[in-house]
């Protein structure tokens, strides 16, 4: 990208203008996400930087909204913060309940999506797979079909089979979220299987390994980075999904996004921003993990650029 020595003045001007434009676009991409972090420490219930915040006055900042997240819904939020206070928070605070639900739903739907998705990706990446293109199109379609259509379809389907009465909590949402997460697993795992050297499995079979052993000893270690990043995608999809939960979730099945959705629709308070900040921190962590995995996968498959 360095400018050649013979560049004309006009080209020089354009080059720097181009860099400025790029910087502005990157700012557009990242600023909205970063701006909520300081705002979540606002001492006032406003969504903008107060004068005190701008002059870095300590009084302008507080963690009251994070505190509100803990106490909201508690029986005795004012009690001294001993072990019984924490027990109360653990049992009653609404955001903590939502977090628990989100994690349970996310965990099981991820397990389901990753298991089914990985096995299917193994089949899909074989050249002998009949009707590969059509099957692939069906399996990826949950990512493409508008979420509102999926949610309405599931709403009617679940009420016609009475899934709420089966006695398995969250079952409907878990199945739906697994469906939504599957395309990501398929995409990431098939991507790691591209260029997979099939003579490795043949060699394993040649030496007497049965298909299951071959899978766990030869294929699995090689595709593991893809499987894990697919699983992370599936988890994030579930962790962030609100429309299906709104349509098919029972009243007690509150999740973090649903709670946020209600908060935004009714009375948006900076407490939402503190949730958002926590979620941003989580997504930074997840992104780091995925990036590391991707590099590891490239190295494993000998595709590393160096």
């Amino acid at each position: 990208m360095a400018l050649p020595k013979h560049a004309s003045p006009l080209e020089r001007v354009w080059h720097y203008a181009y860099l400025v434009i790029c910087a502005l676009i990157f700012l557009f991409l990242i600023a909205p996400i970063l701006v909520i972090i300081p705002l979540s420490f606002n001492a006032e219930p406003y969504f903008t930087f107060t004068d005190k915040m701008l002059s870095f006055d300590a009084e302008g900042f507080s963690t009251r909204w994070y505190d509100l997240l803990l106490t909201f819904g508690m029986l005795e939020p004012e009690a001294p913060r001993d072990s019984s206070w924490w027990a109360d928070a653990w049992a009653n605070a609404q955001w903590i309940q939502a977090t628990k639900n989100s994690i349970i739903i996310g965990f099981f739907s991820t397990i389901l999506a990753t298991t089914l998705g990985t096995i299917a990706a193994l089949g899909l990446s074989r050249p002998e797979m009949p009707g590969r293109r059509a099957v692939m199109a069906i399996l990826i379609s949950p990512m493409i079909v508008p979420i509102i259509i999926t949610a309405t379809g599931l709403f009617f389907f679940y009420s016609s089979i009475g899934i709420q009465d089966w006695g398995i909590p969250y079952l409907g949402i878990i199945l739906a979220h697994a469906t939504l997460g599957i395309p990501f697993v398929i995409i990431t795992v098939t991507a790691t299987l591209v260029g997979f050297d099939h003579s490795l499995t043949r060699a394993a079979a040649n030496m007497g390994a049965d298909p299951v052993t071959t899978f766990f000893k030869v294929q699995m270690p090689l595709i593991l980075p893809g499987v894990i990043s697919g699983a992370l995608f599936a988890f994030v999809t579930s962790f962030d999904e609100v429309v299906v939960v709104l349509f098919v979730g029972g009243l007690d099945e509150q999740t973090i996004p649903r709670q946020m959705w209600n908060g935004i629709r009714e009375q948006i308070s900076p407490a939402i921003l503190s949730v958002a900040t926590i979620l941003v921190v989580i997504s930074i962590a997840l992104l780091t993990v995925v990036e590391l995995l991707r590099r590891r996968s490239e190295k494993l498959r000998g595709m590393s650029p160096g």
């Binding site: 991409l29 996400i33 379609s141 079909v145 979420i147 309405t152």
Partner: protein
Amino acid sequence: MTDIAQPLTTADGKPLKGALLRAQARARRRAFLLVLPLLAFILITFVFPIGQMLYRSVYNDGFTWHEDVTSGDRTPIMTNLATWFEANPPGTEPDEAAFAALAADLVTLRDLKAPGQAGTRINYELSGSRSMFTKAARSAKKLEPPYKEAILELDKDWGNPELWQAMRGASSSYTTNFYLAAIDRERDASGSVTMVPENRQVYVKLFTRTLSLSLLITFLTFILAYPIAHLLATLPLRHSNLLMILVLLPFWTSLLVRTTSWMVLLQSQGVLNDTLVGLGILGDDGRLQLMYNRAGTVISMTHILLPFMVLPLYSVMRMINPSYVRAARSLGATSWTAFRRIYFPQTVPGIGAGALLVFILAVGYYITPALVGGADGQLISNLIAFHMQKSLNWSLAAALAALLLAGVLLLYWLYDRLIGIDNLKLG
């Protein structure tokens, strides 16, 4: 030398051709069996529910069947009227026999406590008619011949030919009327298809708005993605990986978080307006209204969908050999010509992939328009949700969903033809 005439065989003497075919069939079966569980899962939890929902767009038995909530028994309703409709062609003036049939059916409705259900079904086509049914059913037992006068006595709207047309349409469980309604059309008294009055034309306008806003958003993402994808593709990998994080972080951040941040930024008392006022660009009373309108939807959706444009563009640009542009320059092309004639045409596949993906995702967007769109930033998905949750006209919601789905699947098919689903990449 005689061996050549003989068919090739495997070690145990079977014909080689057959053995190969069998082995291939086994490999095919094995591959298919690996995919089968997931395929079955998706068919049951995804394809079937959607199909079932779409069935509602052509099937509505509100005016033909009553289902008891507790026992689940199904009883046919409005049978007398249905018989009359069968015997008389559309547009026939309802005679005494017709009203007698109606009176008899109203008695059945009353006994089943179902006038609300039948009225609701007619109400979808002709608003205000639900109460006519509940009212008439209440006095159904007292009706005496001549029925025509007796019923018209209750409410002279019972003579409305449009009402009779609506009942004729509803007397069969299968109907295309919801699709007509979804494109702002209805059947008039004689049964022919006409446009609804202008003040009720909402859906075509909304479809057009969804398409035009999605096009605008796709175009904006293209304008914004092109320069940074180019920068990322030309920088050395060490730097571009760092910058790539700026693209991927929004991609990994919760959709609700990104929408929330845009609400914070765009509010009239929000960061953006405060900054502009603080810099003296705007007066305090001239704050921009950027949220709860179309601008809010466009700005936040452009931001949210931008990574979907950057990633395919980047992966295409990365593969472009820089020596082509250098060759063009050395042959005397200006940098603009080299870009226009050499570089840009090579990026077209990436533009196509990104644009199709962004457009497909944009037409079905629900959450962001619902939160920042206000009244005139709503898209078709929001209307489907409205009919699902508020007006409870599920058949119309299904018809709108079917139209939206048809459009999306067409684009999806196009995407598969042109780009191939295999080439979908996630960072």
